[in-house]
């Protein structure tokens, strides 16, 4: 077996599906966030693989920006979760239904 682009893409698809599964199945806000991180990383893997096999550096530039924005997003999201926990004493999505119509 010679490892090519499609193997990396299949691994990336599987990781993305695992992250989505975490977002759908888990009920803890923090673990839900970890699922989001997993999905971002799966996208990064696909971009780096394309960059290597298509001889194009722009995929890696994109990954660099994704990592930076993801770090900013995580810090803001975790601050929101902490503020929410202070007010409601819970990090469980089923208890946070005040916006439910």
């Amino acid at each position: 077996m010679h490892v090519g682009l499609e193997h990396y893409l299949l691994v990336s698809a599987a990781l993305f599906a695992l992250g989505l599964l975490g977002v759908i199945l888990r009920r803890n806000l923090l673990v839900l966030y970890m699922g989001l991180e997993l999905m971002l990383n799966a996208a990064n893997l696909a971009l780096v693989a394309f960059s290597r096999f298509q001889n194009n550096i722009q995929g890696q530039v994109m990954v660099f920006f994704i990592i930076t924005v993801a770090a900013a997003e995580v810090s803001v999201g975790l601050a929101l979760i902490v503020a929410l926990y202070r007010k409601r004493q819970t990090a469980h999505v089923e208890d946070l239904t005040s916006l439910k119509f």
Binding site: E6, L9, A13, L21, I24, S51, F53, V61, V69, V74
Partner: protein, 166 residues
């Protein structure tokens, strides 16, 4: 050799990713966070196999280092117990599983049928100087904008974590 390493890294990354989202032994958020760190480490191994050395280093430094430490700090601060077992909405879980399986199936089918399986020539080499040149010439403006994004995020986090908002 690289093929063997690919199988090892990809298998371990998928295993740790699975243990992050659906650990059959524990539902503690700390276990999820630590398995996510392991997933990041194996992914950075895959980046090394793709000759993206700078991205691999940044993955370890930023993700496994900074972001996951932030996660663990917040878990510690909130003093989260094990996720309680509540009555699961069976219909919702089944619908979620079907949706994820459908998405995975569509992606895999697209990859398999797209005809890129012949593309096994890995051509990009010496990526770190190339990446630096691209970042500071063609992508200089996005690079600066991203630094402003980080500054705004920092201000936002400080504002959000004040005890009472005024």
């Amino acid at each position: 050799m690289t093929d063997l390493l690919f199988i090892v890294f990809a298998g371990l990354a998928l295993l740790c990713g699975f243990l992050t989202v659906a650990n059959p032994f524990t539902r503690s958020p700390v276990a999820s966070a630590l398995f996510l760190v392991l997933t990041m480490v194996w992914l950075s191994g895959l980046f090394v196999l793709l000759h993206a050395f700078f991205i691999a280093a940044v993955q370890i430094l930023v993700y496994a280092g900074a972001v996951m430490v932030l996660f663990l700090f917040v878990i510690m601060m909130l003093d989260l117990r094990e996720e309680e077992r509540r009555q699961w909405n069976r219909f919702g879980v089944a619908a979620g599983l079907i949706a994820v399986a459908g998405l995975l199936g569509i992606t895999v089918l697209t990859v398999v049928r797209s005809g890129i399986s012949g593309e096994t020539e890995a051509t990009l080499e010496g990526t770190t100087p190339l990446l630096g040149t691209a970042l500071f010439t063609q992508y200089l403006l996005p690079f600066e904008i991203v630094s402003v994004v980080l500054l705004v995020a920092m201000v936002g986090v400080i504002l959000l974590s004040k005890r009472e908002l005024k």
